[in-house]
Amino acid sequence: MALAPGPDLLGDGSGDERPKWDNKLQYLLSCVGFAVGLGNIWRFPYLCQTYGGGLGCFTVSSLIGIYYNTVLTWVLWYLLNSFQNPLPWSACPPDRNLTGFVEECQRSSSVSYFWYRQTLNVTADINDSGSIQWQLLVCLVASWAIVYLCIIRGIETTGKAIYFTALFPYLVLTIFLIRGLTLPGATEGLTYLFTPKMQILQNPRVWLDAATQIFFSLSLGFGGHIAFSSYNPPRNNCKKDAVTIALVNSMTSLYAAIIVFSVLGFKAANDHGRCLDRNILSLINAFDFPDQSISRDDYAAVLAHLNVTQPERVAGLGLESCHLEDFLDKSASGTGLAFIVFTEAILHMPGAPGWAVLFFGMLFTLGLSSMFGNMEAVITPLLDMGVMPRWVPKEVLTGVACLSCFLASIHFTLHSGNYWLEVFDRYAASLNLVIFAFLEVVGIVYIYGMNRFCDDVAWMTGRRPSLYWRVTWKVVSPLLLLTIFVAYIALLARAPPSYRAWNPQYDQFPTQQENVYPGWVQVTCMLLSFLPVLLVPAVALAQLLVRHRRKKKAALQDMHLKPQDSGAC
């Protein structure tokens, strides 16, 4: 009997065995770090406020890896600019003859000007590409270099880096919690967060947003979790891991929401106070009251008195209406929250540069740990498929992957880069993931077989999954995913896709101008949405063909063998 070769685990090139996590903590932190990303900080709180598939996965992950790092580039740029006092976004720059401020800055705000003009230098139209912003390019190089440094040897280096990148954000969040809760106005923000608006909860859109948020927040469908888990020993309590990761992710979102809202409450109170101060100054200047004679509390009474006695004069002043609710309602999500709202809030905290450094450092490490998952989802399939010959070391493979993603993401440093990023964010990362997750669930439960899967789980964890798991896998999850998918399609089909452009020539500037995407961009959006999904049936077809051909070959060989066999004996 021939000695059967030892069990060949999906080994990588040089014949060494599959890498392993040093300890369970590294694995959990990696998954948590992958799941907990920028979305936990800036998407979940926004949603609270407004109402309170393998080759496919690989494609999606690479698309996302390309544009996600651009966000890291912006965060790095802000981080590098935070090491100065006063912060560069605190004041408008003066114009050429030094008599006033730059007009664009004066009409919007110094924070918006710094973001749209001095960072992005954005054009007014997606068609207008402009040239490459060299400072963003330099930061892009740096962020890809940092990513490469951390994933250079796969999980060997990732596992070490993750200790810092997964835990540092929690430390900073706690520091911000203490600072945020002690700021004036924080309680208003928190009450606003936790007061449910019952009529808004009845809107189905709210629940759709909630479902999509939790789905994307866990970073499902990317293949990252699968890649990370493949480095675990086979007998592993995956059920406990899954529950832990999901719980930690949700708790982090809630934690972040508390912090974000206390800071937003502070900012709203601040803005409200300044609105009152501007009105008080108008009154004092117009009616020649002594300086500082009207306090914020007296303002309402004084205004009422003046409205009765001299209404025409008061009307001619053009006073703004200052309500705290209006300022609290000014919500923002995504890059708007981080780069505009939060940076403005930080300006008013004492010791602003320190807080800015902490905040952007936290965002950077959060994004970095999510990038690890993305790049692992790209590199692990490449390694497993044996794309490179065996003698090529892993460092070269990761280097090539990082380099190609970097070259592809140079496009986002153009002047219109921000608009392209929105395109990628909205179309590459949404529908595909829902479809992949749906196919994964359906494939395992209905095609692989629930019983077989339960047996595997029993082998790994020692216990069969309970009724709860089986019901959710069989019914609830597919149904929810299907609903999300249908709702997404319906929303997309309702209106031609449009985007918001920052156009200083727009007459309602600083409100952003709503433009419709030109035709070729719409085609790109469609491609981004459906190409990764189409890979699934394409690969299935290819595998079917290969198997068919192999069967034919085997049948032919059998036919040739039979006469020989009869001859040998």
Binding site: L80, L98, T99, A145, N285, F287, D288, T309
Partner: protein, 352 residues
């Protein structure tokens, strides 16, 4: 109704208001009391220059005796009927300066010139307007001066002393005004052809409780005012000195219509972000190189590894291991023997 209480038709104003005035305490007693009415003004001593009194009034004027006893008008200050002695009414809230040197009463509309009087409507009467403040200022000189129309060459100044200094705020009085005039004259003297500007050529008008006023600069003949452009230029050049004299800044000492020169941004020769970027990038590159080198070294060690093991085994070949006093045959691992017992059938036969 008694003089102490006046009927008020509007909501009471905050208590704090009346306490703010007067800007300086009067010799003798009194300042107007309470928002609900006005106490009779009793002055023991005659008014001195620079006394500024403000009274808070409500909309309806009280019938009743005008509480003006004890006030003496200064000689020669009889009200001039028919002369443009009130500040002219204007639609916008910034009253252009009055015809200056004739005016010895800087007033709000609806107050007649002359002695400090309870607000009486000026002609035309404007009952809707309230009188907030009444200022009394005696003429500086006895001889009447020609009317100077300085409206277009006058500038309005607004100070926010309490905003700038908080508790350390000083009161705005004639001494401060004198300093202001000195600073303006100083600024004008720095302009070519205007080196002979004196403090007396700077005229202030219409000082309000806000602390805002208008000023013009006249030429030595005191017949004309200097053109606005020159004054603007002079003030702009010396803005910093003027601000510092009053412990204020561009925002708290405002010259309306004179734009201040903003401080140009002081950019360091190398932007800070580049420096920090350079530091981080160098560290990252060094770390990458180190990791790559250590990876190469590890691989080289692994490749050398099996051959090194062979060498040691060769060395051990000639040593005889002794166990329990019995020498064991050393393993001859160099050549590699095939143990026939373990040879399999398949390997004896040639493969297909």
């Amino acid at each position: 109704p008694p003089a102490d209480h006046a009927p008020h038709s509007s909501a009471p104003l905050p208590e704090r208001f009346p306490e703010r005035e007067p800007l300086r305490s009067l010799p003798g007693e009194a300042h107007a009391r309470g928002h609900l009415g006005y106490a009779p003004l009793r002055l023991a001593t005659p008014l001195t220059p620079g006394d500024v009194i403000s009274l808070h009034t409500s909309r309806q004027r009280p019938p009743g005796p005008r509480p003006r006893q004890g006030l003496k008008s200064r000689p020669g200050h009889a009200p001039r009927v028919g002369a443009p002695s009130c500040c002219p009414l204007s639609q916008d809230l910034d009253f252009p300066p009055c015809s200056l040197p004739w005016l010895y009463l800087y007033c709000r509309p609806s107050v007649p010139s002359g002695a400090l009087a309870w607000p009486r409507p000026c002609s035309p009467p404007r009952p809707t307007l309230q009188s907030w403040t009444i200022f009394v200022r005696p003429l500086r000189t006895a001889k009447p001066r020609p009317h100077i129309d300085g409206a277009e060459n006058a500038f309005k100044v607004r100070l926010s002393i309490r905003t700038a200094l908080g508790d350390k705020a000083y009161a705005w009085d004639t001494n401060e005004e004198y300093l202001f005039k000195a600073m303006v004259a100083f600024s004008m003297r720095k302009v070519a052809n205007r080196e002979k500007t004196e403090i007396s050529h700077v005229l202030l008008c219409n000082v309000t409780q806000r602390v805002s006023f208008w000023f013009v600069v006249t030429d030595p003949s005191e017949k004309h005012t200097l053109p606005a452009v020159e004054v603007q230029e002079a003030i702009r050049m010396n803005r910093n000195r003027i601000n510092n004299a009053f412990f204020l800044n561009d925002q708290t000492l405002e010259f309306l219509k004179i734009p201040s020169t903003l401080i140009p941004p002081t950019d360091p020769p190398v932007p800070i972000w580049i420096i920090i970027f350079g530091v981080i990038f160098c560290i990252v590159i060094v770390a990458i190189i180190l990791l790559i080198l250590s990876g190469i070294r590890q691989r080289r060690r692994k490749d050398k590894g099996p051959s090194e093991v062979d060498d040691t085994e060769d060395k051990c070949e000639n040593t005889i291991t002794i166990e329990n006093g019995i020498p064991c045959d050393p393993l001859d691992t160099k050549g590699g023997h095939v143990n026939d017992a373990f040879m399999t059938e398949d390997e004896r036969l040639t493969p297909l």
